[in-house]
Amino acid sequence: MELKNIEALKSLLLKDDPEFWRRLQTLTGEGRDFDDLFLLSSLRKKAHARQLACPAMAQEKVRLAILGGCSLYPFHELLEHFCETAGVACEVWLGDYDNYIAEIMDQSSGLYAFAPHIALLLPSEQRCRYSGSLSDSRQMQQAEAGKVVESLLELARKIHDKSRAEVLLANFLLPSRHDLGAYRSRTLGSDWSFRKWVNLELGLNAPAFVHICDLEFLAHRLGGTQARDERAWFESKQPCSAALLVELAREAAHLIGSLRQPPKKVLVMDLDNTLWGGIIAEEGLEGVELGDTSPRGEAFKAFQKYILSLKQRGVLLAVCSKNEQAKAAEVFEKHPEMVLRMDDIVSFKVNWEPKSENIRQMAAELNLGLDSFVFVDDSPAEIEIVRQFAPEVATLLLGPDPAGYVGQLQDCRWFEPRTITAEDSARTDQYLSEARRKALQSSVTDMNAYLESLGMEAILSEFTAVDVPRLSQLINKSNQFNLTTRRRTEADIQALMKDPAYIGFSARLKDRFGDQGLISIVIGRQQGQTMHIDTWLMSCRVLKRQVEDEVLNELARLAVRRGCARLQGVYLPTAKNEMVRDFYSRMGFTLTSENEQRREFELTMKSFQPVATKIKVTRQAYDPS
C-alpha cells in the first residue's frame, strides 16, 4: 500500500472527519502487508482515543477467547482490527503463552470465567511431530497421528462442553524446506506427511461446533517459504511470518463473521461479456464466443460451469441484462455450448430498466432481502448503479480477462457453505414450482378452491437429531417471518431437545408442484400454566398457505396436553421482520403490553378453537393422538 493512503487517512483523523471509518474499512480490505495493517490498526485506536464518532455496531460484543502454543500478540490486534472493520465488535481474552491445555482442562481457569462465545485455538506445532523413527511401521505412525487429532478434538469438546462456545481450531503449517527430499512423502513419520495427515483428519472428524481455521491452506496460498519466519519464533514466539499472520487473522475474522451472518442466496448475472463473449444483439447466436472452439469461448464456458456448481450448492441463479429479451432467451434455449439453461434461472430480467430496479423486483418476487443478493457484471457503470441505488446488494466487477472470472468468483467468499444439506440443492426446484403455483393462483379466483387444488400435505415433527443442521440453518437465516429472531447453533438446539421445559417442532410442506422441505419452526418454553413462544418462524415461500394456522393448532394442542392455560407470544422488532408485527393479533391473540422493543400477546386456551385448513397433516416422532 502506498504511504500516501495512510497519510490521507491520518489527515481525515486529524480533521475528525467520520469519513475516516469508511476509508479505513476500504484500506483494510485492500491491505496485504503486515506493516500497512499495523498502521491502520494504530490509527483505528487513535480514532477511538480521540472519540471520533463511529458507526454503531449492530450486534452485542462478541466475547472472543484466544489460546495457543505461541505468542498471541500482534495476532490478536490484527484480529480485533479485522473484526471491528467488518462491523463485529469483540471483547478479547488472551491465554498465556503455551498454556492452553491447562487453561482448557481447568474448570476454574480464566477462560471459563470469561464465558467466551467463540474460542480460537492455535495449537503448538511442536506437539504435532512423530516421535519415533522415519522407518517405523505405518500403523505406529498412523496411531500417533490419530492421537494428536483425538487430543485436539478432545480439547475443543472440553471448551464447548464447559462454555458452549463455538471453537475455531487452527490446523498445522507444513514444512517448506527441502529436508528429506522426495522421501518425505514415502513415510508418515516426516513432518510433511504427518501434519498433512493430521490436518485432513482434523477437518474430516471435527464436530459441527468446530470450525477449522485452515492455516495449511492459507500458507499454501501465500507460498510456503513466505509463511515462516524462524527469527520471529526465536525472538518473540510468533507462530508464522508477519505476512501469514495477516492472512490468519483475516481468516479468523471471516469465520467469526460467518457464524453471525448467513451466506448470500442469489447470484444475479449480466449476460454479454459475462456469460459469453461479445454482444448477442449485434453478433447473433453464431457470433458470440462460447465453448471449446476458442480459448476465450472456453473461458466463458468454464465460468458457466462454475456457476452451475454454485447452483448445485444451493445458490439461486438469476439474470439481469440490458438486452433484447427474445435474443437473450434464444441463447439459453438454442446455443449448443450453453451450460446454463432456462431451468437453472429463477428470475430472468432482460429489459432496459436500471439494474438496481430489476434486482429490487427480484427481491420482492422471491421474498428475499436485498442483502441476500450478489450482482456480477463486466461493466463498471452497471456495478456503480447497483452500488448507489441498491447498496445492500454485494457486487463483483469482473476484470478485463475472462480467464480470471472463475477465480474472482471463487475468491469473493459470499457463497461458502457451512454444512451442505440436501435441501440446499433442491432449492431452485422449489422456487421454480413457486412460479408455476403463482400461475395457477392467477387462474383460480376463489382462494379456497386454489388452496384445495394444491393438495397440500404437512408433516409436523418434534425436533429430531437428524434435522438439527437444517433447523439451525433455518433459525439462523430467517429474517422476515421471524417473531423473535433468536439465533441458535446446532449445539443450542441439541441442548434444548434435552430440556423438559422446552417443546420444539418443525413443519414440512409439500404440494402437487413440489416439496418445500422444512419451512417452519416453533420453540415453546413452559413455565407453570403458561407456554411462552420463544421462537416462531416460517419461510416466506409458504406465506398465505395456512401453514401458520396448522402450526398454531399444533402449538395449542401441545400446550393443553401439558396442562397450560395460555400461550404467550412476543414480537421483537428488527429491521426486517415488520411483516409479523401484527401476526399474533391476526391469529386471535390479545395484545397485553407494548413498547419500542417488544409487543406481548396472549391467547387463552379455554376459548381457542382449532382452525380448519386445506392441509392434510401428519404428525411424527411424538404421540400423534
Binding site: 499495523f38 494504530s42 490509527l43 487513535k46 500478540y73 500482534p74 520471529a232 508477519a242
Partner: protein, 81 residues
Amino acid sequence: MTQADVIAKLQTLFDTVFLEPVVLTPTLSAKDVPEWDSLVHVSLVVLVEKTFSVHFRVGEVETTRNIGEFADLILKRKQEP
C-alpha cells in the same frame, strides 16, 4: 544517510503508531515511552524493516539501548549488500 536522517524517518513512523506524541532523540529509550512495550516492539521491528528495507539478525535489536543505537543498527544493516 546519517543517524539524524534515520531518526527523522523513524519519527514519522512513531507519530502514526503511538497515541501520545513522542519526540525522538538519540538518548530516548523504550522505557521512556509508556506505550512502547514489548508487544508494540514486535510490530515496530517489522515496520522498521519494511520501511528501511533492512533485515536484522536474530537477537540484535534487543541489544540496542536507545534510539541512537537503534538508528546506527539500521544504518549498519542498510550498508550491507
